[in-house]
Amino acid sequence: MNFLSIFVLIPVLMLLGLWLVKGQKGIRSVMVVGSSCLLVLSVVLTILFLQERAAGNTAEMLFTASLDWITPLHIKYAVGVDGISVAMLLLSSIIVFTGTFVSWNMNKEYFLWFTLLSAGVFGFFITIDMFAMFMFYEVALIPMYLLIGVWGTGPKEYAAMKLTLMLMGGSAFLMCGIFGIFYGAGAQTMNILDIAHQANGAHAIALAQQHIWFPLTFAGFGVLGALFPFHTWSPDGHASAPTAVSMLHAGVLMKLGGYGCFRIAMFLMPQAAQDLGWIFLILTGISVVYGAFSACVQTDLKYINAYSSVSHCGLVLFGILMINQVAATGAVLQMLSHGLTTALFFALIGMIYGRTHTRDIREMTGLMRIMPFLSVCYVIAGLANLGLPGFSGFVAEMTIFVGSFAQADTFHRVLTIAACTSIVITAVYILRLVGKILYGVCTDEHHLKLSDATWEERLAVICLVAAIAGLGVAPFWISSMIDGGVAPIVNHITAYAADLSLNPFM
């Protein structure tokens, strides 16, 4: 058995363990042991991966294995990782680990769904077979409905239904796209690498077909990546979701979108990606600025963060669509950075909400004196979010911008400069928020009696802050690891000539 499969095996064993144990203590120990194992495993994987690369193994995917699954349909359970997936696995395990501590007082059923969700996420990142990927994708989506619908707050049924339906709509597109690719490429294999390298001179999938399946696949994944105008599930969904679910959803699940767009939509349909990428590039450009402006006037903490996510996830797709190695590396860094930062934000919002029972920024003030630990971390999260050097956001944004600037035509330049404005608007809504709820003097009787973070909350928050700062202070190793994963994909895409006449703005 390939050792990558352990990433799925551990959650399965955790499910079994959760089913067997009794009492809160038992549940907690299963979750802590399981998620720690995942964290350790992903660190080990990273080290092994880097060693293998250092030893000179230049294969596109490492640790590959393939197992026949549904032979008549050529569906295999094929796994393998490159620099991008290793980074994503690392991110997922950090979020699952901290998410466990954040949902410390939840019951067994909650954790069952939570673990199933993480199984789907890990499965998605290790497979390289389109069908298996799609399956894991669905495995990750369904628990979300229950987690929000049952354990959420506010109009939770509405939010859960909306989120699920919109994402399911995305999957419908996606399924069409995947089968389109499968048949377009000759119906021989579902393996991504095989399809990509089937080409003999011309690409395996005919250009006309690419032009149909690319938009479907990209939009399908784009829904999950909060692509404008399919992002509206995000504010409602996040606002109603329980804390750890928001963390996992914004931190990891939204990354599935960007990852899929890059790995499947663009990698497998390189010509269409170059021909039609401009449509999505405009949409992501809108996402970036629009999300940031919308965040400026929100009054609910979670809405602010949800719109901020629209803006920052827009930057992920923006970087990918630049079809440039540096920008794409930046996009993956941004996935990591946004995943960690937004998870930290949602964790802190959950903790604050758990105490004050409000998320309305007009009803809170002066929390700094009352809960200094949480407030200081909130300021740190805010500064990380607005791209302060020393935190991950700066590294990711700068890489994206430098990469995007290499596209020297006016169309790309205008969009890049528009995206640059987001760094100012982000500062506006972050500082407005910090000034309103943390600074000042608290006058609310009830708030004055609140306590600061408990140890498990502190642990979760410190882990996230450390990861964000670590990435921000020493970005070179992870940046070059990701770069190694991005390079073959970008080179593959640019190996095909683009038909620029389809872009009216060029």
């Binding site: 599930w233 540096v326 430098v402 000042g440």
Partner: protein
């Protein structure tokens, strides 16, 4: 040679360590211990900086120039063909900046012992000071423009944190937010400038001499004026050039020692430093744009001086005076027309003058702010009306303030005279217009500074206020920095600065080129201004001042309200951006886009509800529909 300077890394790492230590463990320390940690670390940093300067300037010159040294430079973030490096660059201007920053920072650390005594968050304060010092030092020793930008952002955030240090006060929160957002807005242009520069010049490095860099930069000549100007906009934000200056007066909400360090001596000159850093490119590729910089500077200097004449808050007067003085430095850089030093026509004098003024201004302006801190400490108010006659109570503050005032007014033998005179020489060399404008502004400087001086130390004493609380001289931790900085102000004019710093690095003996006629003229004009201020403001009653106010009430009101620029900004941000962009966008999102998806869901639901009648289960209905369908098909077939 470069290995012997590897220790300069400590200059950055020590304050960083002190920040992390105080930030993470500070709350467990007593106030005294935390302050001592911060101060002693800074002491070591200052000693290291002096040692660096000594070593550096005692190196032999190569071809008449002090070599630029790069003791360390590593790739921090690879960016394809480009790379984001982090390192240390030692050259005459960065070494001079090391001295300025570490000296003023050390004095502020010592001063804060007294000033911040007993304040809540004392440890946090020292942690932030360390963070700021580290960032500022990192900024000046940057080896490339991107590293400069990185530390540039860090000084911005340190400034934000320190302005908002008293975070329970509304004014402090608003001021810190404003400072950050305005400078961030300017930084966006800086970033775009860097991106353009990086893309076309294929390097971020400050090593313009390197053959490959030079070739690439020459290839980017067509775009360099744009790139440099965008970078300058970033610099204008930090250095408070009109119209991006609006954050600086508000930044005075921070603790006064912070104003002395960040908003007078160091951070606000970052923009000047940036232009000086890129100076070889400015002069070679964008001389015309450089003169635009000069005129922006000249206007800013005038505007700020005019506003300073009407303010009553002593820190605001000093803030506007800072804006005006930084603009002097900008003008000095802007009026340069060539790189080569030593010519009779002074085409490159401005570069040296600018750096010299940066140095002297840092010292006397820090003195002024620290004096203001002593006064505020003594009377618990920033307002001039609460003071008056303070010379009796606070002799040390009085004398140091007076010397600093004389220095900023350009009276020999104090340092300001020499540096300002260089600037005037350079301005006259560029154009007589510029020269006379700057001379006029220098006269205004002398006037408003002495208006302030008389308002505080002479004039009408606020007896009521002083009886309740008799002002007294501050403790030694606060007076020592005043005396120390004043001593520097007294002797700094005689430093042979041109021998250390000049546009092309060649030794330049400016005393030999000194225009004594001009010096005498500007000195005389300053003396007249001072005399005028004395006549108007020295007395207990000030009939002339009242008359002036009455004669031009509108003008006075406009100057007092800083020509209503803040209101304009307020209008643009709140009315236009919030009300007409953000709010409609948010509404559009919730009602149009989201509404569409809700409509889809509703439509599906309604459709299902309506067609479910067909699946009623009643056999007659099915039979009816079956027949109906059959008949329709029959008809179609017949037709």
């Amino acid at each position: 040679m470069e290995n012997q300077f590897i220790f300069t890394l400590l200059i950055l790492l020590l304050p960083l360590a002190s920040f992390l230590f105080l930030g993470l463990a500070g709350h467990k320390l007593s106030h005294k211990a935390a302050g001592l940690v911060g101060t002693s670390v800074l002491g070591v940093v200052a000693v290291l900086s002096y040692y660096t300067a000594f070593q550096y300037f005692s190196m032999p010159r190569v071809d008449g120039v002090y070599q630029a040294l790069v003791p360390i430079n590593v790739t921090w973030l690879p960016l394809g063909e480009l790379h984001f490096d982090m390192g240390i660059l030692l050259d005459p201007i960065s070494v001079v900046m090391l001295i300025v920053i570490s000296t003023v920072s050390l004095m502020v650390h010592i001063y804060s012992f007294g000033y911040m005594h007993g304040e809540r968050g004392f440890q946090r304060y020292y942690a932030f000071l360390s963070l700021f010092t580290m960032s500022m030092l990192g900024l000046v020793v940057a080896t490339n423009i991107f590293q400069m930008y990185l530390f540039w952002e860090l000084v911005g955030v340190s400034s934000y944190l320190l302005i908002g240090f008293f975070y329970t006060l509304k004014a402090a929160i608003a001021a810190s937010k404003k400072a950050f957002i305005v400078t961030r807005f300017a930084d966006m242009f800086f970033l775009i400038g860097i991106l353009i520069y990086g893309f076309y010049a294929k390097t971020f490095s400050f090593d313009f001499v390197d053959a490959e860099n030079a070739r690439n930069i020459a290839g980017a000549a067509f775009i360099l004026p744009t790139a440099l100007f965008l970078m300058f906009v970033g610099g204008a934000g930090k250095s408070a050039m009109f119209p991006l200056h609006i954050w600086l007066p508000d930044a005075m909400e921070g603790p006064t020692p912070v104003s002395a360090l960040i908003h007078a001596a160091t951070m606000v000159v970052a923009g000047v430093y940036q232009v000086a850093r890129m100076f070889p490119l400015w002069i070679q590729y964008a001389p015309d744009t450089l003169h635009v910089v000069a005129w922006v500077g000249a206007f800013t200097a005038f505007y700020a001086a005019a506003v300073a004449c009407a303010q009553t808050d002593i820190k605001r007067v000093l803030a506007f005076s800072t804006i005006s003085q930084i603009a002097f430095m900008m003008v000095a850089l802007g009026v340069c027309t060539e790189m080569v030093t030593g010519h009779e026509h002074h085409g490159s004098l401005g570069y040296m003058a600018s750096m010299f003024h940066l140095f002297t201004h840092a010292m006397f302006k820090a003195t002024l702010f620290l004096c203001a801190g002593c006064l505020i400490h003594a009377v618990h108010s920033n307002d001039m009306s609460m003071m008056g006659g303070m010379r009796k109570y606070m002799p040390i503050t009085h004398w140091t303030f007076l010397i600093a005032c004389l220095a900023i007014s350009g009276i020999p033998p104090f340092s300001g005279f020499f540096s300002k005179d260089e600037i005037l020489s350079a301005s006259f060399a560029y154009s007589p217009w510029m020269g006379w404008i700057m001379t006029g502004i220098a006269a205004m400087t002398a006037f408003y500074m002495f208006r302030l001086y008389y308002g505080i130390f002479w004039g009408t004493e606020n007896k009521e206020h002083h009886e309740a609380h008799v002002p007294h001289e501050c403790e030694w931790t606060m007076t020592f920095p005043l005396i120390f900085l004043t001593l520097i102000t007294c002797v700094a004019g005689f430093i042979p600065f041109g021998k250390l710093v000049s546009a092309d690095g060649m030794s330049y003996d400016f005393l030999a080129h000194f225009d004594w006629m001009l010096g005498a003229k500007s000195c005389a004009i300053a003396l007249v201004s001072i005399a005028l201020a004395t006549y108007i403001y020295k007395g207990e009653k000030q009939p002339v001042a009242e008359k002036m106010k009455a004669a031009a009430p509108r003008l006075h009101q406009w100057a007092y309200k800083r020509f209503y620029l803040d209101e304009v900004y307020q209008y643009v941000t709140h009315q236009i951006i919030f009300k007409y962009i953000s709010k409609p966008l948010a509404w559009f999102d919730r009602h149009i886009i989201d509404g569409f998806f809700n409509f889809l869901a509703w439509g599906t639901h309604e459709l299902g509800f309506n067609i479910r009648g067909f699946q009623s289960g009643a056999i007659q209905k099915y039979a009816f529909i079956f027949f109906l369908g059959a008949i329709i098909i029959l008809f179609i077939m017949i037709l």
